[in-house]
């Protein structure tokens, strides 16, 4: 009986939280619409979310591309198909690794920071103080961060893919001597602008939306204690990473499943 009640309580709490997060999303979107005219606020957030994440994205993109170049070459050379190295590296990066790995890094680097920031703002009653001054925190705090997250992740994912392709070139051409023309032309023949690149961009827009939503909601919903904020930060990373990986499966099935 106790077990049943526990399960029921958990389910009710889960659904209530889901509903609360959706209501929060609606308010955040209206806040984002009102924040748009004051674009300097968005620029401030783009610095915190985008520029500060850029370094980790570029460095990891370079290494991921180099690893793809190494592993791809070791396998492809068995079939003397190393001329397809460029195509393989590019498709991996543009379709999957760029959006997904970019999103995971973004969740760890920017999402957690967002949650901690909003959670602390709430804990120190800054949000309540804003409401006292008739400043809507949705338009002043949440909205600009939401827009910045939506803009930043697609750009970061594109950077990761582009740097990764260059990293693969560095290894493929520099170390193994795959012909430069073959590397790029196999890529250009096999990668489609709409099917591959644009679908990857759409993926990263969706991921940016999900991660920012989760991060802001967790921060806004965090219990105003040190422990509450720390738990909310952890939950942001876990939830948004899972959402990205699960969502990636669904998006991939929809985009590349021949529909």
């Amino acid at each position: 009986m106790k077990l049943l009640a526990g399960l029921g309580a958990w389910a009710i709490a889960f659904v209530a939280r889901l509903g609360a997060s959706f209501l929060f999303l609606l308010r955040a979107l209206s806040g984002a619409a009102r924040a748009l005219p004051r674009f300097s606020l968005v620029i401030e957030q783009l610095y915190a979310i985008g520029v500060l994440t850029m370094l980790i994205i570029i460095v990891s993109g370079l290494f991921v591309g180099m690893v793809l170049g190494l592993q791809g070459y070791y396998q492809l050379v068995n079939f003397s198909a190393e001329s397809s190295l460029g195509l393989m590296v590019a498709l991996f990066l543009v379709r999957e690794l760029g959006p997904v790995l970019g999103a995971l890094l973004f969740a760890g680097r920017a999402g957690s920071a967002l949650t901690a920031e909003i959670g602390l703002m709430k804990a120190t009653e800054q949000l309540a103080a804003m409401e006292m001054m008739a400043v809507d925190p949705m338009a002043r705090v949440i909205g600009p961060r939401f827009i910045a997250g939506l803009i930043a992740l697609p750009l970061l994912a594109a950077m990761l893919s582009a740097v990764g392709v260059l990293g693969g070139y560095l290894i493929g051409h520099g170390q193994f001597g795959v012909d430069a023309g073959v590397y790029w032309s196999s890529m250009q023949n096999g990668v489609d602008w709409v099917d591959d690149v644009l679908n990857g961009v759409i993926k990263s827009v969706v991921f940016g939306f999900v991660i920012t939503w989760v991060a802001l909601f967790e921060g806004y919903d965090a219990p105003p204690t040190a422990e509450g904020v720390s738990r909310a930060t952890t939950r942001t990373v876990v939830t948004s990473s899972l959402a990205v990986l699960g969502g990636d499966y669904i998006l991939t099935a929809l985009m590349f499943g021949g529909l």
Partner: protein, 159 residues
Amino acid sequence: MRTKSIEIWVGIFIILGLAALTLLAVQVSNAGGGSGDTFRVHANFDNVGGLNEKAPVMIGGVRVGRVGGITIDKENYGAVVAMDIDTRYDNLPIDTGAAILTAGLLGAQFVGLQPGAEDIFLGDGDHLEPGLTQSAIQLETLIGQFMSSLGQGDGGDAQ
């Protein structure tokens, strides 16, 4: 001064992001060339083998277009390949032939065109002459023929 440097950094960020997208568009994918104006030419084949949509269409190894679609002709059940050819190659004679070739032994299949000698050029929506198309060579059929011809010959060679 602080806001100024933030704005500069965000500007750099946006420019780098857009530059990465441009690189993906121009250098990595095919948006740079080939997606310009094209005209469509149809060719009938008995068998297209493993030809895919978007496979290249080449003349003498140079890409002039790509396969836009593969359908079945409802009257004679042959395959119809629609090819989108760049308009800068609009001087293909009407007796141009087409063959489905393979890049390397096991590589991807593509359409090779052999320009004819007529003075009249192909236009949008034209069909190539059916007698001038050559279907894909299927490796398994070839091996089958080879095996049966070995079997018919003197038994010593088959071993």
